[in-house]
């Protein structure tokens, strides 16, 4: 993606290694990581303080779960427009359904490939208003 201005992305995951991996993948996809946090509460605060274009949220986090963060972001006018990608270790269909019901745009089950994540991030960023 050769966007003039790279998409601004917030990453929240309580697993440090995974979070770093996601950040690397986002950079490979051409995005700019504006925040990297390890729990749900911090993710909400960061999103409210500096609204990103895209939030990549782990479902099972301390503080608030990814689903709770997702619902909260959707319910506030200032953050309702953020694109949300959920990551989860639970691969069951119920989890996917709950994630989408909470307002996520896409859902990626762990373990995910970097290529898949890059592809998903690009797809979500493409749909952003220029």
């Amino acid at each position: 993606m050769l966007e003039a201005v790279p998409a601004r992305v917030l990453v929240a995951d309580d697993e440090d290694d995974i979070r770093d991996l996601v950040c690397l993948a986002i950079e490979r996809a051409g995005g700019a990581v504006i925040g990297s946090v390890s729990d749900g509460t911090a993710a909400l605060a960061a999103a409210r303080a500096d609204v990103p274009d895209l939030a990549v949220l782990d479902v099972s986090m301390r503080g608030a779960t990814g689903l709770e963060v997702c619902s909260a972001l959707r319910s506030e006018p200032g953050t309702a427009g953020i694109r949300i990608l959920l990551l989860s270790a639970g691969a069951s269909l119920d989890d996917v359904a709950r994630g989408l019901a909470a307002g996520a745009d896409a859902y990626l089950a762990k373990p995910f490939g970097v290529a898949g994540l890059v592809h998903q991030v690009r797809a979500l960023m493409t749909g952003l208003p220029a």
Binding site: E15, D17, I18, L21, L24, A25, S60, A89, G90, A91, S92, L93, D94, K110, P111, F112, G113, V114, A115, L117
Partner: protein, 586 residues
């Protein structure tokens, strides 16, 4: 049982028996006559005739001794009295006294009491002869003018009297026979009554013993609750197991409480909603009523409010007449067992999730390293990292299988059904196994119809089932062997046979078969093959890697799709798995 041995045979009194006794009386009469003659009380007119008469009487007495008592010959029975009549005739002639005629009584009685009427006739003729003989030999017993009268009257009196005696005797005999017959019948009936009484007594004692056994068995059960109710659910039977499980003694419950009072109301309500039955007892016995019996977990609420998870077998009970009398509830407390199962499920889920996170890191960073265009790897580095990646993927599959198995076990396994082209599934599987097959020098042949063969199912799970069967086939086939993936449309007849052409009453099916020329599965192990963690001896002997989850997962997927998974294998010759799935009827 029979009393035949004790039966008294009917005895016909009289006529045929005791012949000697009767002639004995006559003999005594003759002896008395001889004494009277000897002492001169009776006159002797002709000594020779008198002597002849006494000799004849003696002969008769001897004959009576010799002739068997119950001689069947009529002649034999007649012989003694006839001889005696002859003696009377001679004595009459010898004495010329009518008094000698009294001697007639003996033989005449003997004759008329013979069975049948010929004795009477003989007596009549004999009497006539006795009257006539003295007349022919001597001066006779009567003056000539009285003779015709005596000749008529004597035999007539003897004949009529004889007939009367004979008839009476016969009637008495018949009555005696009837009485003895009745007595015999009574004895038989008495014996039968006794037998019945004995049988009844035995049956009663057996019933009592059985009731005692049942009661003692039920009372001896302390770890299972045995509860019997009437048709309305009112408790009638309450064993010590129920007392222990639900905390109430028998007298507080029997005829006083309903089984429903020990169930969780919400549970009965939701069951009633699910089955469309009335709440309460109907919800509890609905399934047993429909299928004859039902075993499932229910929550029992004890007297102190504690709740137990109990596996309850519900069965209807009938009375002696086969009419529905009530319900039996036999329960086993599975609270701890279910808690353990839940813990096991949670443990497997937790472990699987916890394993996935590090696996995500490993695979993700590997991918970053191997696909970094800025820092290309050497050929050797790439080979090592490919090995790391392959093993990480193997670990990932195992974790997936474990998690899936836990979901199946917990009943949390759901399908996302859509139209799936099985031909595409088979081709994808061929792609998946191609590398492994080539490495093992195993040829893979694919035989799928050119057109799509569509079933309704979960594409991911069906792909997993097909992959499992195919990768197993490759793993168990030695170098140089062949694996065939075949797909065909067919029709399953009501008796379960799959035929290729359309058939009346048959359902359309898709049949996927995976055949190999591998090591095969010993017959004795084929039944256990779909059990979790089971590994065939041939697998262990040939050091084929695996943990024994693939086939149990494949079976679970097949069953969830309403299909069947069959196996045909011979050790050393190869194995064919056939997966049959119902097709949507067009």
């Amino acid at each position: 049982m029979t009393t035949a041995g004790a039966l008294t045979r009917p005895v016909v009194l009289g006529w045929s028996g005791a012949g000697r006794d009767r002639t004995l009386a006559s003999t005594a009469m003759f002896a008395a006559a001889a004494v009277l003659l000897g002492t001169g009380v009776l006159p002797v007119m002709d000594g020779e005739l008198v002597l002849a008469g006494l000799v004849t009487a003696f002969v008769a007495a001897v004959v009576a001794r010799l002739v068997p008592h119950h001689s069947p010959a009529v002649g034999a029975a007649l012989l003694v009295p006839a001889t005696q009549l002859g003696a009377v005739a001679l004595l009459g002639a010898g004495t010329g006294s009518a008094a000698s005629l009294f001697l007639l009584l003996g033989p005449v009685f003997t004759l008329v009491t013979l069975p049948g009427r010929h004795g009477v006739l003989a007596a009549v003729l004999g009497t006539a002869v006795v009257l006539l003989v003295p007349q022919l030999l001597t001066a006779g017993l009567y003056p000539p003018a009285e003779l015709p009268g005596a000749l008529l009257l004597g035999p007539l009196v003897v004949g009529l009297g004889g007939l009367a005696v004979n008839e009476t005797g016969r009637r008495v005999g018949r009555q005696a026979a009837a009485i003895s017959h009745l007595e015999a019948e009574r004895a038989t009936l008495l014996a039968q009554v006794q037998t019945r009484a004995d049988e009844l007594d035995l049956a009663t004692r057996m019933l009592a013993a059985r009731a005692q056994t049942m009661t003692s068995v039920i009372d001896a059960v302390t770890e299972q609750s045995i509860i019997g109710t009437d048709r309305d659910g009112v408790i009638r039977v309450w064993n010590p197991g129920a007392e222990k499980m639900l905390g109430l003694p028998r007298p507080d419950v029997v005829r006083k409480r309903s089984i429903v009072e020990f169930h969780l109301p919400e549970e009965l309500r939701s069951e009633a909603e699910a089955t469309g039955s009335a709440p309460g007892l109907a919800a509890l016995v609905h399934a047993a009523q429909e299928h004859g019996s039902d075993v499932r977990d229910w929550t029992y609420v004890a007297a102190d409010g504690t709740q137990r998870t109990v596996a309850v077998a519900v069965t209807p009970r009938s009375d002696d007449g086969g009419l529905h009398a009530g319900w039996n509830f036999v329960g086993t407390d599975v609270t701890e067992a279910r808690a353990t199962e839940r813990m096991k499920d949670q443990f497997v889920s937790l472990i699987s999730h916890e394993l996935r996170t590090p696996l995500s890191s490993i695979l993700g960073y590997l991918e970053l390293v191997m696909d970094d265009p800025d820092q290309p790897l050497t050929e050797e580095q790439r080979k090592y990292l490919a090995t790391v990646e392959r093993n990480a993927h193997r670990l990932q599959r195992l974790v997936g299988d474990l998690l899936f198995t836990a979901q199946v076990e917990a009943g949390r396994f759901t399908l996302q059904p859509e139209d799936v082209d099985l031909a595409a599934v088979v081709r994808a599987t061929e792609e998946t196994i191609r590398v492994a097959a080539a490495a093992n020098d195993v040829t893979v042949r694919v035989d799928v119809p050119a057109d799509a063969l569509v079933v309704s199912g979960d594409p991911v799970r069906l792909g997993q089932a097909c992959d499992n069967l195919a990768s197993n086939a490759v793993k168990f086939t030695p170098a140089g062997g062949r694996v065939t993936l075949a797909l065909r449309a067919g029709w399953r007849t009501p008796d379960g046979v799959v035929v290729s052409g359309e058939h009346p009453g048959a359902e359309p099916v898709a049949q996927l078969s995976v055949s190999d020329t591998g090591v095969g599965i010993p017959t004795g192990e084929q039944g256990k093959l779909f059990t979790r963690f089971f590994r065939a001896s041939t697998a262990q002997r040939n050091a084929v890697p695996g943990v024994g989850l693939g086939l149990s997962i494949t079976k679970a997927i097949t069953t969830a799709h309403g299909g069947t998974l069959e196996l045909d294998s011979a050790e050393g010759a190869g194995t064919t798995f056939t997966l049959t799935l119902p097709c949507p009827t067009a």
